[in-house]
């Protein structure tokens, strides 16, 4: 079977600074791909390119069988994005948020209503469906944010740090949710800074640093190869134990994006 994601020499430069440097990798159907790397290594930029939100400077990728440069609209239909920032309107209720995004994917009427009901049940938010999202706790918001990305039942799901800054209960809930998605045959790209999480969930991990992929294998193989007890150790072994001067990278990107 063809892989669901094929990245070929994917490169992104911002004003001469190379954020992502000729990376290539494949993600098979039904796989959870753990995409790891220190802050500013190029994870988010890669995900943005795969989601057609940022144009690559060089190279391309085939996502769900479609070229991200030549067929962006086709790509958008088959992917779901759960970005680092919440994609929710705080003034609108859970139902209103899901309805709005569902409609953008062409879902309407009864079909949309049933899908919303199903998703809200899935993340146990049915009780709060008519409250403005601004009043939700961070755990509730993130649960809703995740199903928002699933509204059109995409084959490929990008999860950018889905468990960051949540309580252990929410983290556990979301991890179970991800496992369930895999069970249903979805292909998942997951970024996280929690190596235990990546080890627990991923079939394959890619470690990116300074815009380059420096390791690409299953967690088991990596542990064996570098003779480490955990993926956490492997990660530190590969990316070094000193704190990163990643601020310079972030600042450069920050200037361009204007944050």
């Amino acid at each position: 079977m063809d892989p669901m994601i094929i990245a070929e020499n994917l490169t992104k430069k911002f004003n001469g600074f190379t954020a992502v440097d000729h990376i290539s990798f494949k993600v098979e159907k039904g796989e959870i791909f753990g995409f790891l790397g220190p802050n500013g290594a190029g994870k988010s930029t890669t995900i943005r390119m795969l989601c057609t939100l940022t144009k690559p400077t060089e190279g391309t990728a085939i996502v769900g069988g479609y070229d991200i440069i030549k067929q962006p609209e086709q790509v958008r239909k088959v992917i779901g994005l759960v970005a680092e920032k919440l994609i929710l309107y705080p003034q609108l209720t859970a139902v209103e948020n899901l309805k709005f995004f569902g409609k953008l994917y062409g879902l309407r009427g009864k079909q949309l209503e049933e899908r919303i009901k199903e998703l809200l049940d899935m993340v146990l938010l049915t009780r709060f469906k008519d409250f403005p999202v601004g009043g939700y706790s961070s755990g509730m918001r993130q649960r809703l944010n995740i199903v928002r990305g699933l509204i059109h039942d995409p084959e490929i799901i990008f999860l950018d740090e889905p468990t960051a800054m949540l309580d252990p209960q929410s983290v556990q809930f979301i991890r179970d949710l991800i496992k369930n998605l895999k069970k249903n045959g979805k292909t998942i790209v997951l970024t996280t800074h929690i190596m235990e999480e990546a080890e627990l969930l991923s079939d394959k991990v890619g470690i990116i640093d300074h815009g380059k992929i420096i390791a690409l294998d299953s967690p088991e193989n990596l542990k064996r190869k570098y003779n480490c007890a955990s993926l956490h150790e492997v990660f530190l072994e590969l990316t070094g134990r000193t704190l990163r001067d990643s601020a310079s990278n972030n600042m450069r990107i920050g200037v361009i994006r204007g944050f």
């Binding site: 057609t52 939100l53 940022t54 609209e73 994005l81 970005a83 062409g106 944050f259």
Partner: protein
């Protein structure tokens, strides 16, 4: 994605933006208050009656009950009569509040103290001059610290005395020869104003269409900038951009929501003008809507360009303000463009807002037909096409760089 899906998506984006706006209660109330406050503010700043007619007590002046003094130095009977007539006329027009003073010196003190704006002196020899068939003179001294007020008050004083003077000449002519029309001798030429539209014109017929254009265009512009920049900043724009819809659908939706907002404001302005300031719509409602729509679309491109280039919301808003504030003054909105120096007039006439206000004014006040405002329509249409064809490709490019 098909056209109909994109069209529906843009409607959904518009509805979502309006719902969002409705939920921001304080913003929503402020938004409704703004045109109300502006209109009432200008309602009190400018006179509501535009045509001077002393006989009906209507005076085209923003000033009322300005204190002036009168000194009658001449002891004659005619001097007292003239002074009394003047006081009557002055009180009936409510323009001046006339107070008697015993001498010019005393009255002059009051001008310096700021209690009087002018002094009228009927000097010695006034009665005698008239009795011996010579012209009599009245002296007027104004408070020169406020030249604008002085000139208005002075011209009103002269006008009142001219009326008294001509009534004197009418009675004299009657005494000489009762067979001829005395008013013909006294005033052979009379000026009568005939308006294009029946009834009196008011400042509001100038202001209301201008404000309407200003509200829709500027409201839409800053609303759009805020709406796009906000979504960019909070990250929800990614959720929209990652959906399988075209950039056109996104922009159309955003613009539609803001246009509806602007139109609501414009109709509040129109409603207040009609209800409180005697404005009437003489022209076609459909043409009015057309101009409003074109006015908005001519500005949208500029708004999008500013917003996509600005890194965050505040910069976007400031950029828009930079454009918005001068437009208010040089686009024939608050006062006639003819008051400006030539070069500023040229800049003003390069702005689409000028044509939106011009078109609306002609429709509302002069009942202009489509052909009579074709130039306004053409300019607005050209502006829309040019700016939008730059803005739309820039939009996704800027957001997906």
């Amino acid at each position: 994605m098909s056209f109909s899906n994109n069209f529906k998506a843009s409607l959904d984006i518009a509805l979502k933006d309006l719902l969002y706006f409705w939920r921001m209660k304080m913003l929503f109330i402020t938004f409704l208050m703004l045109p109300v406050i502006l209109m009432f503010l200008f309602g009190f700043m400018f006179p509501t009656v535009g045509t001077s007619n002393v006989y009906s007590g209507k005076i085209a002046s923003p000033y009322y009950n300005i204190p002036v003094g009168i000194v009658i130095e001449d002891g004659g009977e005619i001097a007292y009569n003239v002074a009394n007539q003047f006081k009557q006329l002055a009180s009936s027009t409510r323009l001046l509040k006339v107070k008697d003073f015993s001498s010019f010196e005393v009255a002059k003190e009051k001008i310096v103290a700021g209690e009087l704006k002018g002094v009228i002196v009927i000097p010695n020899g006034f009665t005698e001059a008239l009795k011996s068939n010579r012209q009599a003179v009245i002296h007027v001294t104004m408070d020169d610290t406020s030249s604008q007020l002085s000139s208005v008050v002075f011209s009103q004083i002269s006008m009142l005395f001219k009326m008294i003077s001509s009534s004197i000449s009418v009675s004299m002519i009657k005494n000489i020869d009762a067979s001829i029309d005395p008013s013909f001798i006294a005033e052979p030429i009379v000026v009568e104003r005939k308006n294009l539209i029946a009834g009196t014109t008011s400042t509001f017929e100038f202001l209301a269409p201008g404000f309407m254009a200003l509200n829709i265009v500027m409201g839409t512009l800053s609303g759009l900038a805020a709406a796009i920049a906000r979504e960019k900043e909070q990250g929800t724009m990614d959720g929209i951009l990652v959906a399988p819809i075209s950039s056109y659908a996104i922009i159309t939706g955003k613009v539609l929501a803001q246009t509806i907002r602007g139109m609501i404001q414009a109709f509040i302005v129109l409603g207040i003008s009609i209800a409180f300031f005697g404005v009437r719509i003489y022209g076609s409602f459909f043409l009015m809507l057309l101009i409003m729509f074109l006015g908005v679309s001519s500005f949208i491109g500029i708004g999008i360009i500013a917003t996509t280039l600005a890194p965050e919301q505040e910069t976007a808003m400031t950029l828009i303000m930079l454009f918005q504030i001068p437009s208010m003054f040089i686009c024939n909105i608050l006062f006639p463009i003819e008051q400006l120096p030539k070069w500023l007039q040229i800049i003003g006439k390069m702005m689409p807002l000028y044509y939106a206000a011009d078109g609306l004014r002609k429709i509302i006040v002069l009942n202009a037909s489509f052909n009579q405002i074709i130039w306004d329509i053409t300019v607005l249409l050209l502006y829309s096409i040019i700016t939008l064809s730059v803005a739309i490709p820039l939009f996704r490019k800027a957001l997906t760089r």
